[in-house]
Each structure stands twice: as structure tokens, then as C-alpha cells.
Amino acid sequence: MTINYIMQQLVNGLALGSIYALLAIGLTMVYGILRLINFAHGDLMMLGAYVSSIFISATILPILFAVVIPTLLMALMGLIVERTAYRPLRGAPEVAMLITSLGVSRLLQNSTVLVLSPQPRAFRLPGDLTQTMNVGGIRFTQLDVLTFLLVIALMVLLTLYINRSKTGMAMRASSENLRAARLIGINVNWAIGAAFVLGSALAGTAGFLWASRYGIIDPFMGFLPGVKAFVAAVIGGIGSIRGAVAGGVILGVAEIGFVGFLPPEFSGYRDAFVFSLLLIVLLVRPNGLFGKSEVERA
């Protein structure tokens, strides 16, 4: 095992982890306010990938459209899902929302099957993005670099927004104590809507990145990454954006490492490994890496 091989796995892990991180940010924001594990989040990534594929095949348009349009459309979609599926359940037991999110997930998957096709389709990036570069024996594509930079840029922008803007302040207050936020006159529906819009937009971006990375899309592609991203959010400390990014990157690197460093017969267990990691983190550090203890919440 050479140092090159190790570095190679690290690069691959960072690229995958960046996508987990993008998804985890949306999950952690929504969970922070509503205590909802939004199972439909990954399916928005899937829809984003399909939207992106339309713009990829229309080669006259610059590639930028294949990133921006799904991002914007999923932002809208997130708002629609929140309004129609989750808002009517405000005040209902949390488990009602959880089950609803599973329902939304199934609805999105099967609508895609119905309207398009259950068959996977190819997602081929044109041009230079997938061209392999070789730096000191480590191979990576422009897409890997783009993914990583994009995630960092989006995280910085989002953190600034949440720390500086009035809506961001309302989101943080709602996340800490939704009842108190309502009581003192904060428009919590607005704050919740903002969390869905921002998170779903990132899921749309992730759709482009995931599809570009694997070159194939299908109606059920989103569910497992969505759940894994939730694992990442828990590892990082649910409710924390920094934590979501850190958790995503750690999970991506760990998952690739598991596949890359263990004998090939173990690679079929990569999903089991991810969820075992969750169990270990919950046992050792239940609040995650950047998590706030419940005591501090008082």
C-alpha cells in the first residue's frame, strides 16, 4: 500500500463526503427546528439530478444551468413539500411528521417512475469536467475539485446568512426553542420555510454533483444517500451546520476508506459500516462532535 494509494482514497473520500455534507446541512437545519428526520430530503436530490440531466443533454446551454436550475427548482420544491405535507401537521406528534416524510419520499420516487421511467439513465457530463488530472500520482477530476470548492463556498455563505440576517436569527431562535419563538411573535412558519428552501436548494446542487460523479441516475438513487447524510449530521452534532459538514466529510472518507483498505469481500458491507459508525458515535458521544448538550439548552 503506497502513500499514493492512501492519498487517492482520501481524495475520493473528500469528494463523496462533500456531497454528504451538502445533504446533511439541509437535514440538520430542518431537524434543528422541527425535530423531523426528513426522509424525503434525498429524493429531492434525485429530482435535482433529473432536472440537471435535462440541461446536460441540451448541450447548447452552458453547464452552469445544469447546476443552477435544479438548485432553484428544488428550493421551490422544498417550499411546496413543507407547505403541503408538513405544515398541516404543525402541533401534531413528531412521529406523524416522520411517517409523512416517508410518504413524501415514496411519492416522489414513484411519481418519477410513473412520469419518466423506472430504468436508470446515463448522466454524462460533457467537456473537461470529468477529465482526469494527475498530480504527483494522485488522480482526480476537475469535478472533484469543483465539488469540494462548491461545498466550502456554500457552507461559508450559509453560515454568514444564518449568523447575520434577521431570518437566520429567527431560525436559530426557533431551533433553540420553537415555543418561545412563537410566543414572542417570531413568524416561525417563515423560519421553517427558510430552512426547507435553503436545505432543498443544496439538495438540488447535490443532485448535479452525485449524478456527475456516478454517471447514472434512477428514481431510487436519493434515499440511501439521504439517510447516510442524516447519519453524517448526527455524527457532527445535529442542529449544527459546521457539524453537518464535518460529519459529511468524515463519513465520506470513512466509507471510502472501508472499501479501499479492507479486502474486497468486505466492500458489500459498506452501508452496514456507515450505520455501525452511527451506533458507535451515539454510544460514545451522543451529542456528536459539535453538538450542544441538552443542558446548555435550558
Binding site: L183, I184, I186
Partner: protein, 235 residues
């Protein structure tokens, strides 16, 4: 200013407030006393629009408040400083105050009110960029009151402001309540510390199992033998 008529509120099948009527006139401090579970907090939460009444009417400045959202009620001039303070511990003191003014559209007014709050509670200014969770209990209570004043309310609902505070701080909080009234804020005060509350208020209501059992001027109630035995810990 506030008129509650025949109000009933229930949590599922459990009736917390039944057929309660209560009036607060402009410029008054009105105290509500009563034991745990008497329905005091439920009443305040219903006035703020967080709970929906089963029946009855809530009029504020002659207009019905029933069915309005909490933010609409804050905008109309009722502010609520909740039991247990419920400040946002992870946010800074300045952010907590800004959120109290969430629905206001006059940034310069908000700014000057923030200065006013810092004048009234100097300890908040000293620590304005710190997380509110680092404040002591008494300081958090002051922040909760200041936050609720940031919406420039005509009527302030104060739920258990002295709960869990040292006697010296209790004194300070009640001084603040009187000061606020002198500045023109009408106050509906819920207190376990009935003695102090009756001393500073104009009128009072005694609640038992969700309904009013005794009402009258505070000076009368302070001498009411039943009340003295049950709530004032005297005799």
C-alpha cells in the same frame, strides 16, 4: 383595555380554564394569584394566541383577539414574558432583544428602544455580545422582560417574573414592574409571590381550578382572611 369573557380552554379532554372572566383597565397592574394548575399560565398563553380557546371571548382595545396568530397579537400591542423566562441561551443578548422587535418595521425606533433597555438594565449592556445562557437567573429574567418590551407593548403579560430568584432580585424585579407602569405600560401579572404582587398591583383575581373565585382591589384582598391563609402564608 383587555377584557376576557367566559373563557374556557382545554388540553384535549382536560379543562384547564373554565368560564373565566377578567378585565384589565388601561394603566393598571392586575395580579392573578392561584396555586399550581389553577389555569394562570394557560390564560396568559391563550391571550397571546399560542393556545386556542374552546369558547369565550378575548377583547383587546375593543377588538377580538381570538383566532389571531401570536405574531399578529404582538403587533397589536400585547407582549408576553413567559414563565421560565425562555430566553434564547445560545443567542447573544443583543440578538435576543432584536428578536423581541421582530415584527417592527422602524429600525431607528428599535435601536433607540434597545438603548432604553440598556439604560433600564445596565447589566445587559455590559454583556450585550455574550450568549444569553451565560447570564444569571435574575439577569435572564431582566432580559426576558426587556425582550418583551422591545415590541413596544401597550399590555405586558408577565408570568412568574420572580420565580426562583433571590429576595434582593425579587425586589428589583417588582421595582421594574412599577416603573414600567409609570411609563404607561399596562400589566397583567401572574405571581406565586402573592404578597409582593398584591402590594404593587391595583386589582387582583384569585384563580382556583380554572375559574375566578375571588376578585377585588389588591388592598382588600391582602386583608381577605381566606386569601391570607391560602396564598399569603400568613395567620
Amino acid at each position: 383595555m383587555l377584557e376576557i369573557r367566559n373563557l374556557s380552554v382545554a388540553y384535549g379532554k382536560i379543562v384547564a380554564v373554565s368560564n373565566l372572566s377578567l378585565t384589565v383597565n388601561e394603566g393598571e397592574i392586575v395580579t392573578v394569584v392561584g396555586g399550581n394548575g389553577a389555569g394562570k399560565t394557560t390564560t396568559l398563553r391563550t391571550v397571546s394566541g399560542v393556545l386556542k380557546p374552546r369558547s369565550g371571548e378575548i377583547l383587546f382595545k375593543g377588538k377580538s383577539m381570538v383566532g389571531l396568530s401570536p405574531e399578529a397579537i404582538v403587533t397589536r400591542g400585547i407582549s408576553h414574558s413567559p414563565e421560565g423566562r425562555m430566553i434564547f441561551g445560545r443567542l447573544t443578548i443583543t440578538e435576543n432583544l432584536k428578536l423581541g422587535a421582530y415584527n417592527r418595521k422602524d429600525p431607528s425606533g428599535v435601536k433607540s428602544d434597545m438603548e432604553r433597555m440598556f439604560g433600564m438594565f445596565p447589566v445587559l449592556e455590559q454583556r450585550k455580545s455574550q450568549r444569553a445562557g451565560t447570564l444569571s437567573g435574575g439577569e435572564q429574567q431582566m432580559l426576558a422582560i426587556a425582550r418583551s418590551l422591545m415590541s413596544r407593548p401597550n399590555l405586558l403579560l408577565l408570568d412568574e417574573p420572580s420565580l426562583g430568584l433571590a429576595p434582593l432580585l425579587v425586589e428589583k424585579i417588582f421595582d421594574v414592574v412599577v416603573e414600567l407602569r409609570n411609563e404607561g405600560v399596562t400589566i397583567l401579572l401572574v405571581e406565586q409571590n402573592a404578597n409582593e404582587a398584591l402590594r404593587i398591583s391595583d386589582r387582583a383575581y384569585v384563580l382556583e381550578t380554572g375559574t375566578v373565585t375571588i376578585e377585588g382591589p389588591s388592598t382588600e384582598l391582602i386583608n381577605n382572611p381566606m386569601l391570607r391563609a391560602a396564598y399569603l402564608g400568613l395567620d
